[in-house]
Symmetry: C2
Amino acid sequence: MDTVERAPANLPGPAAEAAGTARDAAGDAPAPKRTRARTTASMADVARLAGVSSQTVSRVSNGYAGVNEKTRRQVLAAMKELGYRPNSAARALKRGEFRTIGVITFTLSTTGNVRTLEAIATSAAHEGYAVTLLPVALPTQAEVRGAFSRLEELAVDAVIVIMEVHLLDAATVQLPPHVQVVVVDSDAGDHYTVVDTDQAGGTRAAVRHLLDLGHRTVWHLGGPEGSFAAQRRTDAWRAALVEAGRVPPPLVRGDWSAESGYRAGLELAAHDDCTAVFAANDQMALGLLRALHERGRRVPEDVSVIGFDDIPEASSFLPPLTTVHQDFAEVGRLCVRAVLRKMRQVGPERGTTLVPTRLVRRDSTAPPPEHP
Amino acid sequence: MDTVERAPANLPGPAAEAAGTARDAAGDAPAPKRTRARTTASMADVARLAGVSSQTVSRVSNGYAGVNEKTRRQVLAAMKELGYRPNSAARALKRGEFRTIGVITFTLSTTGNVRTLEAIATSAAHEGYAVTLLPVALPTQAEVRGAFSRLEELAVDAVIVIMEVHLLDAATVQLPPHVQVVVVDSDAGDHYTVVDTDQAGGTRAAVRHLLDLGHRTVWHLGGPEGSFAAQRRTDAWRAALVEAGRVPPPLVRGDWSAESGYRAGLELAAHDDCTAVFAANDQMALGLLRALHERGRRVPEDVSVIGFDDIPEASSFLPPLTTVHQDFAEVGRLCVRAVLRKMRQVGPERGTTLVPTRLVRRDSTAPPPEHP
DNA sequence: GCGGCTGATGTTTGCGTAAACATCGTGTAC
DNA sequence: GTACACGATGTTTACGCAAACATCAGCCGC
């Protein structure tokens, strides 16, 4: 821990030998007013100590070739002694890039957003980029606009937006020029670059699974209106039923939360002919399971339930939940790749990339009861 | 978008007339070699267009007093026309601060970390600070060291670490000087500034609640060894029992995941004398509930279960989970406050701040069965 | 032996901003 | 009416870095 305590800038005389003695003059003489204690050593300091030009320090710092091995070693030693760290502000100013990606998202309350964010951060780090978080408290236009106006001053080279793009457009966002944007949870593939889970494919798999088990039709516990993902799942659910010649029951809506799933579940439990429910996410499925349990409808004997997301807890539900697995890590990875490509001006400017899903069969689905 | 294309730097003499008409000239004449299309307007560009000095633009930009209202308006108009955005790299370089806080954390798989991070981001935004994420894939020393070495070059003024500080120490971290650190999930209050949930208080409340219900003792499903929070809960659990004159049963460990709670639950279900279990988090409690259910032990009639965290889903478990509510938002808020105070050199350098918990009674706890 | 090349290094310059200092009217006190 | 304060603005400078260019040995080929 001692390394943290050290204050390399004020070392008494160690730097004097070996090279330049000019430092002492600088250290003391000037007006002692507020000394300002230079916080970090600069390239110039290192250069002085190593007896080279600052440009050579720069070359070493950036790992350029063309520096004599002996010189390089001297410089490295000087850097170490002074505790030199390149100043990223100066670097960014000079290079014109921050090596940082901004991520705008709503509250991190949904598993999907968190997982995606995590993957983005990891992938970005891998590429030498940092990730700056721009939280938006509420999905209102004012909030979104606020986030973007913060962004305007922010040190980012690109932005990944994890939310329905309509809010973005509606907020009359004015992005800093040359800042690339990639969007998740949106259908704006013709205006933006979009990366998303294959909502439709996953939904189709879920519905088909239930129909294959023998259910006459499938009810749907949908997500909130604002969400594109929710909309997409609802549309796909309806389409899959129609395609199979079934009649879609009325839609029941929740807001992604388990609590809303519970409330919707109480409603669904009242329908005796409801033998299969496709919940738009696992949390709502959880609430649904509780409601069904309370109303004495057994899962999966009386009612089959299928979720979406495959959160880690899904396998521990009662009963373990059959669900559609989303590969959030892949989504995050692709976001970073897409945004970097856009920055480097390779790859398509717009269009949607879909990440496939996978149906995970557990114990919450079964054939319908003999005669309901 | 046209504002982007414009190359304000090369304007010949437009500044002369209030709102120049000389723009056309700039587009053609200059050497067409890679034009480099200046990406953004600088203060100088705005100054030229507004017919003032760049310093005045700076004053307007920073909202300083002492600028004539008319002048200010001119400047603002010019800014708007050029789509001017202050360059944060230059600003950071000049001011010597980035207005950014780095957050180091393990994978965002635990609710607590995510909630805390979210609160940190929100509070920081409130204070005009951005948050940069430094994900650490695995809690190994090498990984932690890697994160910190990335950090060394990173544009942050302070760091909040959400993890057991031992890993940090062990990684022989060398922090940039003058970068303040605040830590969550740690007992290093004497070396660092620590903000944490009152683990002991929450645990005591949980244990007492169960004892008050009439249980002879309370079993404990603990978290992983590396975690300070887990350790603290385990210690407090044992202490609370001893204090009440009870004999602590053997400790059962999980790794925070529901799956591990399930495995541990199978084990616990085998003990007929186990009538009350305190799980170190809600996810493990979920798995525990499933295991008990599978083994035919009813909750709460046969076994009482209590969790820790109060994740949103807890109220939808079967049965709804009694648990200890953690105020992650407050933890995050206090982290930001502490770190900003340290930067401004007010407030104590080290020491621990505890955030109180609250017991949330739901349906998973009840008096023990008559004669077990 | 000379021109030119290569590798290693130094020098100059400018990125965009804002602190510090300088200037310049205008009014106000005496 | 001179002195002086004050408000409004302009000028200079430095933040730390790295691209572009300059220098300067040593070495090669002919």
